[in-house]
Structures are given as structure tokens and as C-alpha cells.
């Protein structure tokens, strides 16, 4: 199928998601001497429309390339960004798409996408253990990295996790987190 421009992609999402679509932004940056650009689309969607957004992306590109889930702790809410890329395999044509979902800390749940994209299992497990977001219907919810290190319930990526300080390995005579920088 023919390739769409970034603005056409944003408009098609708006049409497909209706109410679930909050905003769409396009970012472009020029590089090096010849000033070719690379292009990125940020899509802000609501949690209810999230799975439909991933479906719609699979219609634009068969087997979209899913990269990672990044999560940011913003105080009262946690923002998850699902990074995808489409139109790979051709010179200068790839567009990165980031689907962003904001979750309030009182209700940290998001549906899984492993039935659409089987390779997403690792990154969903990592988000679950590191940030404390519950991924509903995940086929294999075991902890990925911390199983031998920390007990359950501690989420290192959260900024308000108080229990983590006990586990920091601090050199003798120093205080953690650089608190002794004046000394």
C-alpha cells in the first residue's frame, strides 16, 4: 500500500479512534550536511482506545516494529509511551510513532498487546516489575530482572519508592545519593 505522510497518519488515527484520541504531534529534525530529516509522530490516546490504536497501526503497516515501552513517573500519574516504527526497510522513509497513555497512580492498569505482537512479552514484564503497572491478561507475569535481587513490592523506577534506600550499597563513610557532595 502507498505510504502516507505524517499528517495523513495523524488524521487517520483521529478518524479511527474518535473520542479516544486526545492529540497528535509531529516532530522533524534535520541532520548533517545534506539536511535530510527524520520524522516522529507522538499520539496521545486514552486507555480505553489504546488497543484500537495498536490495531489501527497494524493496518497501516503489516508487522509494525515495536521497540520498547518507556515509563515516566510524573508525580500523580505515570505516562507510558509505546515506541513503534513503520515503513522500515526503505532508505530515508522510516517514521517513528509513539503511542502515549497517561495512567493515574490510583489505577495503574493497561491491557496487554501480546496477542497482536508476540514479541512484546519482555518489555511488558519489565514495566510490570519496575514501575508497578499491572498489565492485565499478560500470559506470563513473572518478574524479569529483579527475581534474585529484591523482594516483591519495590519498584525502582518510581520516584516515591521509600523502601529502595535500604538496599543501596554505599561506600563506607559516605551518604547515599551524593548527599555528602559538600564534604
Amino acid at each position: 500500500m502507498e505510504k502516507l505522510t505524517p499528517q495523513q497518519i495523524v488524521d487517520s488515527f483521529k478518524k479511527a479512534l474518535g473520542d479516544g484520541f486526545i492529540d497528535g504531534k509531529i516532530y522533524e529534525r534535520e541532520v548533517a550536511v545534506k539536511k535530510n530529516r527524520y520524522r516522529r509522530i507522538w499520539l496521545y490516546v486514552k486507555r480505553e482506545a489504546f488497543r484500537e490504536a495498536v490495531h489501527h497501526l497494524s493496518r497501516i503497516q503489516e508487522y509494525p516494529h515495536f521497540v520498547i515501552i518507556s515509563s515516566s513517573d510524573l508525580g500523580d500519574e505515570v505516562e507510558l509511551i509505546y515506541h513503534f516504527t513503520i515503513y522500515y526497510g526503505h532508505h530515508l522513509e522510516e517514521i517513528s510513532v509513539g503511542i502515549r497513555v497517561a495512567l493515574s497512580k490510583k489505577d495503574l492498569k493497561i491491557p496487554t498487546i501480546t496477542d497482536l505482537i508476540p514479541g512484546a512479552i519482555f518489555t511488558e514484564r519489565e514495566t510490570q516489575e519496575m514501575m508497578g503497572v499491572e498489565v492485565t491478561d499478560i500470559p506470563d507475569g513473572r518478574r524479569l530482572f529483579l527475581a534474585g535481587d529484591l523482594p516483591e513490592g519495590i519498584h525502582p523506577w518510581r520516584k516515591d519508592d521509600k523502601k529502595l534506600e535500604e538496599y543501596l550499597r554505599v561506600l563506607p563513610g559516605r551518604k547515599p545519593k551524593g548527599k555528602d557532595k559538600e564534604g
Partner: protein
């Protein structure tokens, strides 16, 4: 320094406790034809039970602590432990991580320290020579 009491080649077991592999590829560079420690008889073995020297790299993660202790106990005496690289000596950039239990000498006793991030192959060879001298002393004393 005379190296006559120890009349066989030095066998080395490489123990990776969670390092970034920088020191590990320099250790392997010591054995390849450019630096060629193999002409002295130094050889990498696949099991700690055959080893004379334990080359340990990396800051020790909490999940690796048991393995490190067990491997130390499996190595027969006389033995020498070398800590290669800054992470194993005192933590380097990882010193405040929540998943690490300390530099190697908090877990097993270390005899030779080779600092550097990563140390050059020449520095590792010098460390092995010092370890060899120490093994000589231990063998002469008849340490069981």
C-alpha cells in the same frame, strides 16, 4: 624472582560476576597471539576444580553471591584470587546500586588487584606474574 618451585603451568579460571565484558575481552586478548601468555603455559580451563588462579571480574550482584562463594570453595588449594578491573576492586561507577552486594573482597579474599577500566593486557600479565610468585611461596610453604 625465581620461578622454579612451581614446576607446572598455571591454569586460570575466569569468573564473571556481572561485569560489562570490557575486562573479559582484555583477558582473552592476553591469550591470543599478540600478547600470547600461552607460551608461558598459562591456560584457561573450564572448571574451577582444575584451576590455580581465579580471575574475577565485575561488581558482584546479589543473585551471583552464592555462585561466587561456591566456586571459591570448589577451587583446590593452593590458590590465588585476582580481582581484575575497577568494579571488582571498589565498585567504580556502580558503587551505589541497589542490586550489588559489594566489591569482590567482601565476598572472597583477594590476593592481587589489577586496577583499570579495563586494565591493559600488559597490566593483566604483570598481575598474573605476581600471582605466580605468590603461588610459589604458598607451594614452598606446603600449604594444604
Amino acid at each position: 624472582m625465581s620461578l622454579k618451585a612451581f614446576n607446572r603451568a598455571l591454569w586460570v579460571y575466569h569468573l564473571n560476576t556481572g561485569s560489562c565484558n570490557g575486562c573479559d575481552i582484555e583477558i582473552l586478548a592476553v591469550l591470543t597471539p599478540r600478547y600470547d601468555a600461552e607460551r608461558f603455559g598459562i591456560m584457561l580451563v573450564g572448571s574451577p576444580r582444575h584451576a590455580d588462579v581465579l580471575l574475577a571480574t565485575g561488581p558482584v550482584g546479589r543473585s551471583m553471591e552464592d555462585s561466587v562463594r561456591r566456586i571459591y570453595e570448589q577451587t583446590p588449594d593452593p590458590k590465588v584470587v585476582m580481582a581484575v578491573g575497577n568494579c571488582g576492586i571498589e565498585g567504580d561507577v556502580f558503587h551505589e546500586a541497589y542490586s550489588l552486594v559489594g566489591p569482590i573482597d567482601q565476598i572472597i579474599p583477594v590476593d592481587v588487584y589489577v586496577p583499570g577500566c579495563p586494565p591493559r593486557p600488559e597490566a593483566i600479565i604483570e598481575g598474573v606474574v605476581k600471582a605466580w610468585a605468590k603461588l610459589e611461596t604458598l607451594a614452598k610453604q606446603g600449604v594444604a
